[in-house]
C-alpha cells in the first residue's frame, strides 16, 4: 500500500502524490469501516456480556452488596475475609483434587479407547455413538443416574455389595467416596467427547511415521511412546487447557448430587461462590472468590503452555 513509486505507473491518472495518498487513505478507511460492520454484531454482546461483567466483578470484589442494594467500597475486606475462610481453602483443595483425578482418568481412558477405535475400525461407528450418549444428558440426569448407582437403599453398587454379602456403603455420605463419585460422574460424561477428540488427533498422524517405526523394529508400546505421543503433544496441550478451564468450574454435579456435603467435603470453588452469593448474600466475598478462580485458571493455562508448548519446540 505504501509505495508511490518513482516510476510513476499511474501517470495517466494524473493524480498528484498527495491526491493519490488521500485516495489511498480514503479507500483504507472505507475498507476498515466495512470490516467493522462485520464484527460489530458480535462485538456488542461480547463487550456488554463478557468484558464489562468481568471488569465489574473485579471491581465488586472490593465492595460490599451490589445485587439488591448499591455497592459500598470496603477495600480489601472481602479478600481478607475469604483468605481466612477455611471453607474456601477446603474448596480449593477439593477442586484441585477433583481436577487432577478427573483429567488423568478421563485422558487415560479416552486415549486408550481412541487407540483401540483407531486400530479396529470395523463397527467403530456404533461405539463412537454409544460413548457419546452421556454427553447429551443434562447435569440433572447425570446426578439422578448416579443417585441410582450410589443410593444407600436401592443404588446398584449397594445392591451388588448386598448380593455379595458385604456391608452397604453410604457413598454420598462419606467425604472421600462422595468426591470420587463426582469425579466418576464427570469422567463418565466427558469420556465420549475426549475419545473422539483423541481419535481425530490420532487420525491426523501420518501413517508412514508409524510404518517407519515398525520397520525399524519398534514394538507397540515403544511406538506409542516415541512416535504417537510426541506427535499428539500439540493436541494434548489444547486438550489440557480446555479440560482445566472446564473442570475447574465443576458445579452442576455438585449441585444435584451432594450440595457440597457431607461436611463441605465436596464443596468446590464454584459451589463456594454460589453459596456465598445466593445463600449467604455475601456478594463481595463471592466476587473475590470468582476473581480468584479466574486467576487460578490464568496461571494454570500459562503453566500448561509453558510445560507442553516448550517441549514441543524441542522435539521438532
Amino acid at each position: 500500500m505504501s509505495g508511490v513509486t518513482t516510476e510513476r505507473p499511474w501517470e495517466e491518472l494524473t493524480l498528484s502524490e498527495a491526491e493519490y495518498r488521500r485516495a489511498g487513505t480514503r479507500y483504507r478507511n472505507r475498507r476498515s469501516l466495512r470490516a467493522y460492520l462485520f464484527i460489530v454484531p458480535y462485538l456488542l454482546p461480547f463487550l456488554a456480556f463478557l468484558v464489562v461483567p468481568t471488569v465489574w466483578s473485579i471491581w465488586l470484589s472490593f465492595n460490599q452488596g451490589g445485587i439488591l442494594d448499591t455497592a459500598k467500597y470496603v477495600g480489601l475486606d472481602n479478600w481478607r475475609a475469604i483468605s481466612s475462610d477455611t471453607e474456601l481453602t477446603g474448596a480449593i483443595k477439593n477442586t484441585a483434587l477433583y481436577v487432577v483425578e478427573a483429567i488423568l482418568l478421563v485422558f487415560t481412558l479416552a486415549l486408550f479407547l481412541a487407540l483401540l477405535l483407531n486400530r479396529y475400525r470395523k463397527g467403530s461407528n456404533f461405539f463412537k455413538l454409544a460413548l457419546y450418549v452421556p454427553l447429551l444428558a443434562p447435569a440433572v440426569l447425570v446426578g439422578l443416574i448416579w443417585q441410582f448407582l450410589t443410593n444407600y437403599d436401592f443404588g446398584l453398587v449397594n445392591l451388588l455389595l448386598n448380593a455379595l454379602g458385604l456391608d452397604r456403603l453410604n457413598i454420598l455420605g462419606s467425604g472421600t467416596l462422595a468426591l470420587l463419585t463426582i469425579v466418576l460422574a464427570e469422567v463418565w460424561r466427558g469420556l465420549g467427547f475426549w475419545t473422539l477428540y483423541f481419535l481425530a488427533s490420532l487420525q491426523n498422524i501420518p501413517e508412514e511415521l508409524q510404518d517407519a517405526a515398525r520397520v525399524d523394529g519398534a514394538r507397540g508400546l515403544q511406538r506409542f511412546r516415541r512416535v504417537t505421543l510426541p506427535l499428539l503433544r500439540p493436541m494434548l496441550l489444547f486438550a489440557v487447557v480446555i479440560a482445566i478451564i472446564a473442570n475447574f468450574q465443576v458445579f452442576d454435579t455438585v449441585y444435584v448430587l451432594t450440595q457440597g456435603g457431607p461436611h463441605e467435603s465436596t464443596s468446590t470453588l464454584v459451589w463456594f461462590i454460589w453459596k456465598k452469593m445466593f445463600q449467604f448474600q455475601e456478594t463481595g466475598q463471592a466476587y473475590a472468590a470468582a476473581v480468584l478462580l479466574l486467576g487460578i485458571i490464568l496461571v494454570l493455562t500459562a503453566i500448561s503452555f509453558w510445560l507442553l508448548g516448550a517441549r514441543q519446540k524441542r522435539v521438532t
Binding site: F38, P45, L50, F127, P138, L144, F148, L196, N204
Partner: protein, 307 residues
C-alpha cells in the same frame, strides 16, 4: 499390531520347513484374533457403561417408588405403572419447560451462527486496524469462568428498564447474554482461514462488494462449519444449567434442566416421578442425536482437526 519375525523368512540364515512356517503363521493369526476379540470386549464394556444407566432408569420410571425398596430387587417390573408420567404431565409444567428449552437453545444457536460467522469472516479475511489485538482479546476471554459473569449479568438484567420487556424471567434475558461466547468466532475464523484466498481475491477483482463476497462465495463453502458450530451451541445450551438457574425464578420460565432439578426438591423421595422426568427428557434428545448422528460425531472430531 504385527508380531515381529514370524512371517518374514530371512533368505539366508533362517530356514523353516513349510510345516513349521504354517504353524507359525497360524499362531500369529490366533494371537491377532485374540487381540481383536479382547479389544472389542473392552469397547463393548465401555459402551454398556455409557448407555446402560439410561436403560437402567427406564425401570424405576415404570414402577411406583416404594417398589424400589423391595427385596430382592427386580429390574423388569411385573406390571407397567404409568402414573409417574401422568404425575409429571399433570402436576408439573413439564411441557412448558420443554418449550422454554427449545426456544432458548434454538434462539441462542441462530443468533450465534449469524454473528460468529460474520465476525469469523472479518477476522480471517478482512483487514482493519486492531485486528490481531481484538482477536487475541476474544481468545483470552475463553478463560473467563461463568461464575465470574453470572452475578454482574444478573444485576444488569434485573436493572433493565421495564419498557425493554427483558428483565428476569424473560426470554431475551435468558438468550442474549449467552451469544457472547467466544468459541464460535474462533472456530469460524479457523475454518475460513482454510478456504482458498484466491476465490475471494477473484471475486474482489470482479468488483463484488465485501457483502456479496461473503454472501455468495464464502457462506456456501462454510456449510460444514456452520452445522458443526450449530450442533455444538445447541447441545451446550440444551444442557446449560447455571445461567437458567439464576435468571428464572418463576416455574413457567424454567428450562428442562432447572425444572427437573427442582423436582428433586419437590418430590423429595419420589424417585419414580424423577426418573420418568429424566426418561422424558432424554428420549427427544436421543431421537435428535440419532437423526444427526453423522454431524454429532463430526462436531467433536472437528475440534481437534481445526487447530
Amino acid at each position: 499390531m504385527p508380531e515381529p519375525a514370524t512371517t518374514v523368512a530371512d533368505p539366508d540364515g533362517f530356514s523353516a520347513s513349510a510345516a513349521e512356517f504354517e504353524r507359525a503363521a497360524r499362531r500369529h493369526k490366533l494371537v491377532r484374533y485374540g487381540k481383536g476379540l479382547a479389544a472389542y470386549i473392552v469397547l463393548a464394556v465401555f459402551a454398556v457403561i455409557a448407555i446402560g444407566p439410561f436403560l437402567y432408569l427406564l425401570s424405576p420410571s415404570f414402577r411406583e417408588s416404594f417398589e424400589l425398596f423391595s427385596y430382592p430387587p427386580q429390574w423388569i417390573p411385573d406390571s407397567f405403572y404409568t402414573g409417574n408420567f401422568a404425575t409429571i404431565l399433570n402436576d408439573t409444567s413439564y411441557l412448558r419447560w420443554g418449550l422454554n428449552t427449545m426456544i432458548f437453545a434454538t434462539a441462542v444457536t441462530l443468533i450465534t451462527l449469524v454473528i460468529d460467522t460474520l465476525a469469523g469472516y472479518a477476522f480471517a479475511r478482512l483487514r482493519f486496524p486492531g485486528r490481531t489485538a481484538l482477536f487475541v482479546l476474544i481468545l483470552a476471554t475463553l478463560m473467563i469462568p461463568t461464575a465470574v459473569l453470572i452475578a454482574p449479568l444478573y444485576i444488569m438484567v434485573s436493572n433493565l428498564p421495564a419498557w425493554t420487556h427483558s428483565g428476569v424471567n424473560t426470554y431475551p434475558a435468558m438468550i442474549i447474554p449467552m451469544v457472547a461466547s467466544p468459541l464460535g468466532v474462533f472456530m469460524m475464523r479457523q475454518f475460513i482461514s482454510t478456504l482458498p484466498e484466491a476465490l475471494v481475491e477473484a471475486a474482489r477483482l470482479d468488483g463484488a462488494s465485501e457483502w456479496q463476497i461473503f454472501r455468495k462465495i464464502v457462506l456456501p463453502l462454510m456449510k460444514p462449519a456452520i452445522v458443526v458450530l450449530g450442533i455444538f451451541t445447541f447441545m451446550f445450551q440444551w444442557v446449560n444449567f447455571l445461567w437458567p438457574l439464576v435468571i428464572t425464578t418463576t416455574d413457567n420460565m424454567k428450562t428442562l434442566t432447572v425444572g427437573v432439578a427442582s423436582l428433586q426438591g419437590q418430590f423429595v423421595t419420589d424417585w419414580g416421578v424423577i426418573s420418568a422426568a429424566a426418561v422424558m427428557t432424554m428420549v427427544p434428545v436421543i431421537a435428535i442425536f440419532l437423526i444427526f448422528q453423522r454431524w454429532f460425531v463430526q462436531a467433536s472430531m472437528a475440534g481437534a482437526l481445526k487447530q
